[in-house]
């Protein structure tokens, strides 16, 4: 797991890229072969919504994996993973805007004002937009330390996403509850080391930054 070895990382990156495309490729195949089921739009929304949340969790799992396995290089994969989450969030939101609301802004505003689940979904998506826009090397360099603070919005966006899922489900909330528990576990990991004192790694400024790993991320990115 030495951070220097680039070629295994490239292989993992390729695999992750294919995995990230998986749900979209399946949807494309299913659309072409009439496998989207009796309610195709619902299938599209379920697949894109679940993919968004799962991939957001993967981005939040990068830090735990990196710390537990002392695998710093994994951080170089996080941008691509995060952009996949944004990709599926965009498809999900577009399917709602186009198919559910027929592109009517007034219907969308009314729906999100009246129904928290819609509001949570839209909020989650809108919070991801600045993160995607500032994911370029140029923006990372330009924003410097503020980049890390900005990208802590991912926690808020994911929380909105988890609530969105809880409220969307009609009755059987086992799956959304499982998602909420995973999210809480990912959050708990970030609290734990500060309480117990992390002896495995150097923590440069623990008092200053609530999530040290996020804050130090830009310097760990490839400079290319």
């Amino acid at each position: 797991m030495a951070s220097g070895s680039r070629s295994p990382l490239t292989a993992i990156r390729s695999l992750l890229f294919l995995a990230g495309l998986g749900p979209a490729l399946w949807l494309g195949w299913a659309a072409l072969t009439s496998h989207l089921g009796p309610d195709p739009v619902h299938t599209i929304q379920a697949v894109t919504g679940l993919s968004t949340l799962v991939i957001l969790f993967v981005t939040l799992a990068v830090t735990p994996v990196r710390r537990l396995w002392h695998w710093n290089a994994i951080i170089r994969l996080r941008r691509m993973i995060g952009l996949f989450a944004f990709f599926y969030a965009t498809l999900h939101m577009l399917s709602y805007v186009v198919f559910d609301q027929s592109l009517s802004l007034s219907l969308i505003i009314e729906d999100s004002a009246k129904h928290p689940r819609v509001f949570a979904g839209l909020a989650s998506f809108l919070l991801l937009v600045p993160l995607a826009l500032t994911s370029t090397d140029k923006m990372i360099r330009r924003l410097g330390r503020r980049w890390g603070r900005l990208h802590q919005l991912v926690y808020v966006a994911t929380a909105f996403g988890v609530f969105h899922y809880l409220w969307v489900v009609k009755w059987d909330i086992r799956e959304p509850v499982l998602f909420a528990l995973v999210f809480l576990a990912l959050l708990a990991f970030r609290v734990r080391p500060r309480r117990t004192g992390d002896i495995r790694r150097r923590v440069s400024e623990p008092s200053e930054t609530p999530a040290p790993v996020t804050a130090t991320e830009p310097s760990l990115r490839p400079e290319s």
């Binding site: 009796p38 198919f99 027929s102 009755w171």
Partner: protein, 314 residues
């Protein structure tokens, strides 16, 4: 008792299932995203309808009520006794035994009795009824039912003058119904109607779809259909009919009284607390269409509720 007006979807409009199968084959052969996405909609020649698309119009394809394909009606089911996924009932209900079948008749009725289902249905004519079916989850279908008029059955059972409500209790057999092994809802599933609602000529006890005996996942052998109400009012696999003076305690109302009322009349103006009921997605269509008051049966049934506050009595 005769209908003042025929149901808006005439039985003659029910397309023969073979035509649907041919159409599906055409779709498969035609291929392409568009064809796949409109599969189940208005037929092979509906592509030009895409050009009629008007944002905000709510109906981008057809405004007819073409019966939903048999395959979709039988594989997209809410029937929690067999699992909470729409595809679970078709899978889990295969071995469900529907004969012999007893229906207990109890409460405010001249002769409380255990009826054999076939005896109960004997001498009551089976009718074709093509009804819109609107789920509380904001999707809908059009289903060509066969069944017996609930009013005819009630008259046969002879409730007493004390009867004000009818309660339908459904099968509660965890051996055969895996969903019952979890207390996800207060089992057994119970639904009910006011007696005058139950006597309305549109209310049906269904025994078939598309001219075939009802499949287990659709509520075989006997299932309540009340087309102006949300689908959950239609109890499946009915084992008991009880007439009562007091309002029945119904399952969804008991589980979530703020989300599911006793009446559950389709009403675009009364949202579910968590989602809008103003529009619905007809299976097979991409874009949502407007939901109609009383699911389009207002002319026939609105008088049942004259003077009632439909927002309070949702």
């Amino acid at each position: 008792m005769r209908l003042r007006r025929p149901p808006e979807i005439r039985d003659s409009e029910a397309t023969d299932e073979r035509l649907y199968l041919n159409r599906r084959a055409f779709m498969a052969a035609f291929g392409g995203v568009g064809a796949a996405l409109i599969a189940g909609n208005a037929g092979p020649f509906s592509m030009p309808r895409l050009l009629d698309a008007r944002p905000g119009a709510g109906r981008w394809f057809s405004d007819d009520d073409k019966p939903t394909p048999y395959e979709d009606i039988t594989h997209y089911n809410n029937y929690y006794e067999f699992g909470t996924d729409k595809s679970d009932p078709a899978e889990q209900a295969k071995a469900f035994r529907t004969r012999p079948w007893k229906v207990e008749v109890a409460g405010e009725v001249k002769r409380p009795a255990q009826w054999d289902l076939d005896d109960l249905l004997k001498s009551v004519p089976v009718e074709d009824r093509v009804y819109r079916h609107r789920c509380v989850e904001a999707w809908s279908m059009v289903i060509p039912w066969q069944g017996v008029s609930l009013a005819a059955i009630i008259r046969k059972l002879e409730p007493t003058s004390m009867a004000k409500f009818v309660e339908f209790t459904t099968m509660n057999d965890p051996e055969q119904m895996p969903g019952l092994r979890r207390p996800i809802l207060p089992w057994p599933y119970v639904e009910g109607l006011r007696l005058d609602e139950a006597l309305h000529p549109l209310a049906l006890l269904a025994t078939g779809i598309y001219g075939k005996p009802l499949l287990n996942q659709n509520g075989a052998p006997l299932r309540l259909v009340v087309p102006w109400k949300y689908g959950f009012k239609g109890g499946k696999a009915i084992v008991k009919i009880r007439f009562s003076q007091t309002i029945p305690v119904t399952t969804w109302n008991l589980a979530a009284p703020n989300e599911y009322g006793f009446y559950a009349n389709v009403n675009p103006d009364v949202d579910h607390p968590r989602w809008s009921q103003a529009r619905e997605r007809r299976l097979g269509e991409l874009f949502k269409r407007k939901t109609l008051p009383f699911n389009g049966y207002a002319d026939q049934v609105a008088s049942l509720y004259s003077g009632m506050d439909l927002k309070a009595n949702f």
